[in-house]
Symmetry: C2
Subunit: 514 residues, 2 copies
Amino acid sequence: MNAANRSTAEGILFTDQYQLTMAQLYYRLGLQEKEVQFEHYFREYPDYGLHKAGYCVNAGLEWLLDWMQETSFRPEDIDYLRTQRTRSGGRVFADDFLAWLAGNGNFNCLSMQAVLEGRVVHPNVPITVVRGPLAMAQILETALLNQLNYQILIATKAARIREIGRAQLMLEFGLRRGHDRGANAGARAALIGGADYTSNVGVSHLLGLPPKGTHAHSMVQLFIAMGQTELDAFRAYAELYPDECLLLVDTVNTLESGVPNAIKVFEELRRKGYKPVGVRLDSGDLAFLSIQVARLLNEAGFPDTAIVLSNNLDELVIWQIVTQISQEAPRYGVDADALVNRLVYGVGTRLITSWGDSALGGVYKLVAVHHENQWRPAIKISESIVKTPNPGDKRSWRVYDRRGKATADLIALADENPALADPLLLRHPTEQAKQRALPRAEISRIEPLLAEVLRQGERLEPSPTLDSMRRRRQADVECLDPGVRRIMNPHIYHVSLSQELWNLKQRLIDEAAL
Amino acid sequence: MNAANRSTAEGILFTDQYQLTMAQLYYRLGLQEKEVQFEHYFREYPDYGLHKAGYCVNAGLEWLLDWMQETSFRPEDIDYLRTQRTRSGGRVFADDFLAWLAGNGNFNCLSMQAVLEGRVVHPNVPITVVRGPLAMAQILETALLNQLNYQILIATKAARIREIGRAQLMLEFGLRRGHDRGANAGARAALIGGADYTSNVGVSHLLGLPPKGTHAHSMVQLFIAMGQTELDAFRAYAELYPDECLLLVDTVNTLESGVPNAIKVFEELRRKGYKPVGVRLDSGDLAFLSIQVARLLNEAGFPDTAIVLSNNLDELVIWQIVTQISQEAPRYGVDADALVNRLVYGVGTRLITSWGDSALGGVYKLVAVHHENQWRPAIKISESIVKTPNPGDKRSWRVYDRRGKATADLIALADENPALADPLLLRHPTEQAKQRALPRAEISRIEPLLAEVLRQGERLEPSPTLDSMRRRRQADVECLDPGVRRIMNPHIYHVSLSQELWNLKQRLIDEAAL
């Protein structure tokens, strides 16, 4: 796709057709300016098959807001819509609607409350609340879901790998396996969720990080094809990058060629006063090999050089490697803790595509309509109560227990103040019988989750730095119960409704059944 | 991400850092212009857990070529690289290299042979062969893999759904669950691989298709919140789009409200001389509901209106629905075949993210270096013979048997002509004992797989139309044995090496072991 086509396909036409046909319907009925509220939330944590997440990490808002502020119906977009034809050859979009779109087809009319990026988020709790005129709030749906769902998915996966990787360095290496240009958003989300650095040059540049990397097999292959050796390749690399000497040792044979050659080059570097960075293993039994490599490096007097592992790593693979090392390393005279502490995880495919569950089922639902001077709750009954959105103009809160741990997220109507309730009643969102009454004395803090980020197109929060998003994530993760944090079969975090919201939802369901 | 940042992050810096550090090394050694060949291929079909693909569909080339022709190191990219620092504070990239990059950092020096888009492709057979000066051929790696791997992945998934969906209409609905902007490439690949239309407006526009869609639950919710009814919403929609009336019937209750209301509106349309298009089911037991909905529509005299199904469809879910319909429909007086023939599949999440296996492990490997006036084969031994690339300057061929079915892909050295061999010897790529000798009389056709698409930056093939890519896919799929086409446990298609290539590979492996 060339640049001209990209501005077409990534601008306002980056949407589903039905958003536009619905907008025209609203225009035809005179409802295009009707004030409404949509909510973005997800219903279930990502489930990677054997293991389901216990929490998600929010990401994506900043780039969505950038997009919203730049995007509108351009004359050429309107021209294109004018050419669309129905089955019988008539125009899909009429001139008066297109004229309205040309004048009003931008997002400066919208206001937004949102959970800030980096924060921990849970199912059914609104992450983004969009308020404004119906037509444009509706048209925003597709782009909002596309951008937020993916970044939350990847930030969450990164947080899980970070959880298992402890304090070890974690590098995002997934650009070549990401989904086309989406890989940039994935790299950003990975950095928010837990990766320390990325190999992605453009995204590193934008976020102010140094990009990381080693070299490819092709470098060694090239030397060999020209009649030279792996050692020659390593030497050439070390001479040019004496400060950054990280060598990929598995092109020929890791233990018999790669590591011995790397050690020779490291010794030469040391004699010149440089500190070699380490080696990278990209194939084979990474647990076994890292023990053997550590042993060889230790024997050669390089006990601190890093051992970078890559090749389809994810939280389970890393867990398996660390477990195997702790069992087997002593047998080879290698200190298991010291070895784990020198590991660096290069995580590619399985992070950037959220391998195992490659989509977050985030939805964007109409929850309220301003009609006859008040917010009227909107509901969709659907086939199951679990999928019925929580109706109405609402607020959400995080409730912390006496230990300072987050004990529940509470969704309440806008005019409720849960801080005043004693006890605070927490209703299970769907099961009638499940509820909890929390005495005020058990609660250390009740915190509103949403911040106002956009008022009629004007941004109210400064652009977050990567550091600030990471600090939010760390703080929120530390407030989770360890049972919620664990990567297998986590405790289910409580997401609760207030009694008033529960009553409203029940009443609307009953009315719809009439 | 705003537009200025997008041109930074989606231009030449859409790469891994190590491509740039390796390029500088090659420059430092005077090798930046050395003629080399890289090959892009994948090692394994996508494996969705329970079921593995038996073939892939090629896609992505055209948009990659667009990108290559527009992309180069801009002055601001060079300025950024000048700011990169090593651990000790020195410059990562020196001025002489950056000056060379500023003058030569584009892809006009490269030539490319490729399998055309839409064609069926198999493991280890080169899909794209890049030839040209080392530095820029190396720098291309990340962007090439990123763009081709994803589109092949999605075209393949679409072809599988098409296989199960038979002649039924298949709509791509995945934009909101795709991976950020990558969703556009996904929509294109889905259309090449098997989808008839997409809801994605921008991509439809670029490819000259009408975008498809219905309406959202929010339209019905809005009417209800304002004190009106689902029927009012349907009527309003039908009045505006009498030609395109496709109604989403599951906002309140599919069988008790949605379908009866849709039928009322369809009757009104019929009286006005319009033909209603159909209904969409987006939740619940789609097999059971579609039988019941068909029964109601039949009874009301609408035996031809479409029933669009959506909600996490993929090839297995569709298979299950069709199977259940064939078993249960007769019990409700519904003709199973007639019902299946009126189904339309709206496929979203599981198509656009290739749910179950969200990445194609395509690689880009150095296979030959032009050194001392000849192509020297390059090899990487790695940990297993399966992952060892096929070395050297090669050509690939598809061999058809007497029935006209493709019976094997053959990889041979560039100077071999398999059309002259009788019998044609096909060696298993890794297993010594496995080989087939095919008498010439058994072969109806031997076809070269690669076409020259780029010569020193100049494109040699016209931009393919969507139709031409789809025709290639259809023709190639029809040439597959039914056992290879089936979606569960397919026959393994033969990918073979010529005897000469086998000998060369074995010799290089033996030499490397010395």
